[in-house]
């Protein structure tokens, strides 16, 4: 039994001429782990490493004991890219049925996934005619299909109304309670409080790691945004 879902050791990623991730060492365990940091800090790049679609310059990423991206992992890891990756010219239902066939999961999962993201009313609508938030929910539903053991979600709640955002966070916790390791990125600091564990990232490095409460206490700040600023200033001083 491997206790961590993800173990990253000395990960180094260069994109173009830019070093995006620098010698990262991270583990991701059970529960909802949040990855928070400003735009361009490397969140999406790190997530791409976890699912094995990013070329890396060095280091190792293992998921459930196998190298990230191995064929054995591909039906155990659900992935939502930052831009919603569903077919615009298919309906929500057709999209989900297609991905269910690719994953080889029972079509009954489609109903559950549609339910989970609250798209029942729009099932038969072509994705291209949905709102941005509805489209990203359709994309999220695809990742829920196979009941994966690890969910990698790149900013899944951007542009959603507060009620729906709260619903989705509840869903993430429900999934985590049932044993899925959930790894979510966000650049909205107020979402941080909803995570079981938080990784703060800046310029390709992890600058803080702990529960939201621990991070706030350590930085002596009242909220995560202030804590982030305090840590950055502390490092600069």
């Amino acid at each position: 039994m491997v206790k961590n879902a993800v173990e990253i050791h000395d990960l180094h990623v260069v994109r173009g001429r830019r070093t995006v991730l620098e010698h990262l060492d991270i583990t991701v365990g059970a529960g909802v782990t949040g990855l928070l940091g400003p735009s361009g800090c490397g969140k999406s790049t790190l997530m791409r490493c976890l699912v094995g679609v990013q070329q890396v310059a060095g280091g190792a990423v293992s998921v459930f004991g196998d190298p990230a991206g191995s064929s054995r992992l591909r039906d155990r890891v659900g992935y939502v890219t930052q831009a919603s990756s569903v077919y615009d010219d298919l309906t929500v239902d057709e999209n989900l049925r297609f991905f269910a066939r690719v994953l080889g999961v029972d079509p009954a999962h489609v109903d559950r996934a549609v339910d989970a993201v609250d798209l029942d009313d729009h099932r038969d609508q072509v994705v291209g005619r949905l709102s941005g938030g509805q489209r990203s929910r359709a994309s999220l539903a695809v990742a829920l299909l196979g009941e994966p053991d690890l969910l990698v979600l790149d900013e899944p709640t951007v542009g959603l109304d507060p009620v729906l955002r709260a619903d989705l966070w509840r869903l993430f916790h429900d999934l985590a309670d049932r044993g899925t390791a959930v790894f979510v990125s966000s650049h909205v600091m107020d979402e941080a409080e909803r995570c079981d564990r938080l990784l703060l990232m800046r310029e390709g490095r992890i600058i803080a790691d702990g529960t939201p409460t621990e991070i706030k206490e350590k930085a002596g700040a009242g909220n995560i945004e202030d804590a982030f600023l305090a840590i950055v200033r502390g490092a600069a001083a």
């Binding site: 919603s84 010219d89 690719v102 695809v142």
Partner: protein, 243 residues
């Protein structure tokens, strides 16, 4: 390779095409309209019998090249390819899925064009008519394979369309449509000998002029070889890990 995934992809591509009524209509009707136009232009001359076969080889090739390069480019840029590659999908499933879907469309397209040319416009075909359709389908798969390959080198749909004059028009000029290939200057004839469309057109012309099919199968094998090589090149451009 996994047949379930392959046919899931082929089915999905066909549903997408069916939804796009305008493209589908253009795919199926346009070749017929253009062939009719040509027949009309050269009415009462023997020209149609000479160029008709070449046209039957050209349309599936051009059309599938365009459709495939744009659709796979869309798939690359929309993130759906990245998602599929993170799923248990093999590259071959993806490529052959597209190949099967467009092969089906090409079969329908060619069946219509062949039926029109032979049935209504009086195109003389000595060889078996069904073999004409087989050549057209292999030709379409070749177009798809090439389109798939170039989609890796284009960043936008606009660029993808620009590959058409670069890769397709030279083949049309040299395939024997304008002047028989053996009357080309020696250098150009040598060039036309390594272009796949030349063989597809040769096959069509043989089919219309004689009943012997041995040469046709040989040309068909060459076209199929190019199509396979194109698919292999396309597979090489499908990278699971990208920079």
């Amino acid at each position: 390779m996994n047949p379930r995934i392959l046919f899931a992809i082929a089915g999905r591509v066909l549903v997408q095409l069916r939804r796009d009524r305008r493209t589908l209509a253009l795919l199926l009707v346009l070749p017929c309209v253009l062939i009719t136009l040509l027949w009309w232009m050269f009415k009462d001359t023997p020209v149609f019998d000479a160029v008709g076969p070449a046209l039957l080889a050209m349309f599936p090739f051009i059309v599938m090249f365009l459709v495939t390069s744009v659709t796979t480019l869309r798939e690359r840029s929309s993130g759906t390819l990245e998602r599929l590659l993170a799923m248990p999908m093999g590259k071959l499933d993806f490529l052959l899925g597209y190949g099967v879907a467009f092969g089906v469309v090409a079969a329908v397209q060619s069946a219509l064009a062949v039926a029109l040319s032979v049935g209504f416009l009086g195109l003389d075909v000595q060889g078996p008519v069904w073999l004409l359709t087989v050549v057209a389908v292999v030709d379409a798969v070749l177009g798809s394979a090439l389109g798939l390959f170039v989609s890796a080198f284009a960043q936008t749909e606009f660029q993808a369309v620009q590959f058409m004059p670069a890769l397709v028009i030279p083949q049309i000029l040299l395939c024997g449509l304008f002047i028989p290939r053996d009357q080309l200057p020696a250098t150009l004839e040598a060039v036309s000998n390594v272009l796949p469309l030349s063989y597809a057109v040769d096959a069509m012309q043989t089919l219309t002029s004689t009943t012997a099919t041995a040469d046709v199968w040989q040309d068909l094998a060459v076209v199929a070889g190019f199509a396979l090589a194109g698919l292999a090149l396309g597979a090489a451009t499908l990278r699971r890990r990208t920079p």
